[in-house]
């Protein structure tokens, strides 16, 4: 879930920003811009429609300062102590897939949202929405997967809530996780800090998760030796911040909508152009093959265990070395650079010297046949 970053260090209050009555009264009213007559699946797909919903309805009515750039977690000051807060819901079908399951995804996803907001994940609360008729052993397996993921990441699960809905009113189980984290010292994540000449880093191969899920659904008769990349990226972020903290300007985990969507959001927020060099983009052959066959672009495919970072040029090598020396960061690469033009767009240069614009994903990625 994209959330609003609040201004840093803005006084001491114990409520989440935006709920203080005085603050609400004094803030200007922002117009609701959403014109879509009904909610479609595309509004949840992480691309342009999601952005329209968040910016056009949620932000103006719910958030304290709707014009601030959207981030993966919000920073709030509680009695003078800054904490990071994030929340995320998981509705995945099938529940289990090669390399992971919904329980593991729910914990890692929230850890990653905190990590890329420059925070150490500290505690998580969990809400289960369960469909009547769900086999207890399926639920138990997912709860065990959550416990194991939290243990591995050193994060406590401190509470939760349970709701059960009638059979047919949900798809087996939905999980919502809310996490809090403590900001890492020495790093400030803000798209407005991004400058021309900065380097774009990607922590590893893209598209593993999205293609694994697409194939695990069994609708396409394609088999590939692929696993979801679901994992906590905090150890990688932590190592990079220690090595190159002052040079890190922005981070994001490119989940739904993939690398292209995250970078298009950044390009819009910083009004600069992002140039990616196609041969530098790390993609496994199985993902590339599936994408070629199905007419999909790996840049639009979801990831669950990778992150993007924009790092000042002179810190880029240090950041990359730190990633390479951390287990799981061996495939990290510099994939691009920030330029003045084309403003607010992402450009991919081909190995032939040509180029193409890569836009946000429109709706879900759909296989192309004819």
């Amino acid at each position: 879930m994209l959330q609003l970053r609040t201004p840093k260090g803005d006084g001491e209050h114990s409520e989440p920003v935006g709920l203080k009555s005085e603050a609400r009264d004094s803030s200007p009213s922002f117009a609701v811009l959403l014109r879509d007559p009904q909610i479609e699946m595309a509004h949840g797909a992480g691309g342009t429609a999601t952005r329209r919903l968040v910016e056009g309805l949620f932000a103006p009515l719910l958030l304290h300062s709707p014009s601030e750039p959207l981030a993966d977690a919000a920073h709030v000051a509680v009695n003078g102590t800054r904490i990071a807060v994030t929340t995320d819901s998981f509705v995945v079908s099938p529940l289990c897939f090669p390399g992971g399951s919904i329980g593991e995804l729910a914990i890692n996803g929230t850890i990653n949202d905190l990590a890329v907001a420059g925070a150490r994940p500290e505690a998580i609360v969990v809400t289960f929405v369960l469909e009547a008729g769900l086999a207890t052993k399926i639920l138990e397996a997912e709860v065990r997967a959550m416990a194991e993921a939290a243990r591995r990441a050193g994060v406590q699960i401190v509470g939760g809530d349970t709701k059960v809905v009638e059979h047919g009113k949900a798809d087996q189980m939905y999980v919502t996780t809310t996490g809090i984290g403590s900001p890492l010292p020495g790093v400030t994540i803000d798209p407005r800090l991004v400058q021309v000449g900065d380097k774009v880093l990607l922590s590893g191969c893209m598209g593993d998760h999205g293609i694994t899920i697409l194939l695990a659904r069994g609708e396409l008769d394609i088999q590939a030796d692929l696993r979801s990349d679901t994992r906590s990226v905090f150890p990688l972020v932590d190592a990079m911040v220690r090595a190159a903290g002052p040079g890190i300007r922005w981070m994001r985990d490119p989940t739904r909508g993939g690398v292209a969507t995250s970078l298009n959001e950044l390009a819009r927020d910083c009004s600069l152009g992002i140039h990616l060099f196609e041969p530098a983009l790390p993609v496994r052959d199985a993902v590339r093959g599936a994408c070629e066959l199905l007419g999909l672009d790996p840049l639009h495919i979801a990831n669950e265990g990778q992150f993007l970072a924009v790092v000042a040029s002179k810190y880029a090598e240090r950041a990359l070395n730190a990633l390479h020396q951390t287990p799981g960061g061996e495939e990290a690469r510099v994939i691009g650079e920030i330029h003045e033009q084309p403003a607010a767009a992402v450009l991919v240069t081909t190995p032939y010297g040509g180029s193409r614009v890569v836009d946000m994903l429109v709706g879900d990625p759909l296989p192309r046949i004819c």
Partner: protein, 375 residues
Amino acid sequence: MKFVDEFRDAEVVHKAAGEIRRLADPARHYRIMEICGGHTHAIYRFGLKDILPESIEFIHGPGCPICVLPMGRIDDGLSLAEDLNVIFAAFGDVMRVPGTRGSLLQHRARGMDVRIVYSPSDALTLAHANPDRHVMFFAIGFETTAPSTALTLMRAKAEGIRNFSVFCNHVTIMPAVQAILDSADVQLDAFIGPGHVSTVIGCQAYEWIAKHKSKPVVISGFEPLDILESVVMILRQLNDGEAKVENQYKRAVPWEGNRTALQVMAEVFELRPDFEWRGIGLISQSALRIRDSYAAWDAERRFHIPGLRVTDPKAAQCGEVLKGVLKPVQCKLFGQECTPEHPLGALMVSSEGACAACYSYEHRKAMVSIPSQSA
């Protein structure tokens, strides 16, 4: 990756581009139509225009089956799927095509049972698995996909599967090419022939273009090197004053086509008297319908179909863009009211449509790099 990487080798691509620059007469303007939407997509995706001389102009042709599907056919198909007992099966390509009241995806979100299938036989498998429901396959595509629909119908008949039907929207490529060549306002020098369609119909099917219209045709593969080699072959013909059909895509396309595929098509399908092409209008004998012997599996005969004709917005200039008279960006609606997310015209719908490819891959690039031209 085999069959991909060797056709994307940067060094060889540069050599081919160099050869094109050497062959292209700077005093001349070459208007080459790539018939197939797959080529349009590849030209944009690999940024090929950036590495070719300005005298080479690609005109995007009518060969995107999604783009030419009229809105009325979508509405007709959806009217059948309103029956709760019907499972509507279609390729992923069709899911975003807008009908009057929204696309298949939007109907699915409202509760209609719409399934994405990868091949027509997957739809037949659905019928096996759901014996109490009716599975309707919304068939679409040129000669590339028509044989697999035909084979599926033959299987359904042989196995006596009654809860399965096909809503046939298959079209044939040649009448559309003919319509474009007959159009007075179209000026073309040569064609890049469609690779996938030609695996079925072969190369000889294009000989009338070379013979009677004196235009070179080169059947091409879809990788960057395939397209560049095809341009080289076209330029050599034009420079020598020749017009013949050549096959660049020999690794996939036999000269005489695929006899078995043509036979199964002939067994199951016959030509319709006419069919509406979105953006072009009615073209006679340009589409396939299911023969009487398969009427029991023909959705159009089994069910009442309203037979809707829906016109595109008046301001949309899809026809002119389809014929190559206008560039996508020259249409009044391009990038304004008409975008890939809210397509008004046919060519903005599929990623292989000329307008969608131009919008996605080049539009904003063009706006920043040559501001004087965007005014």
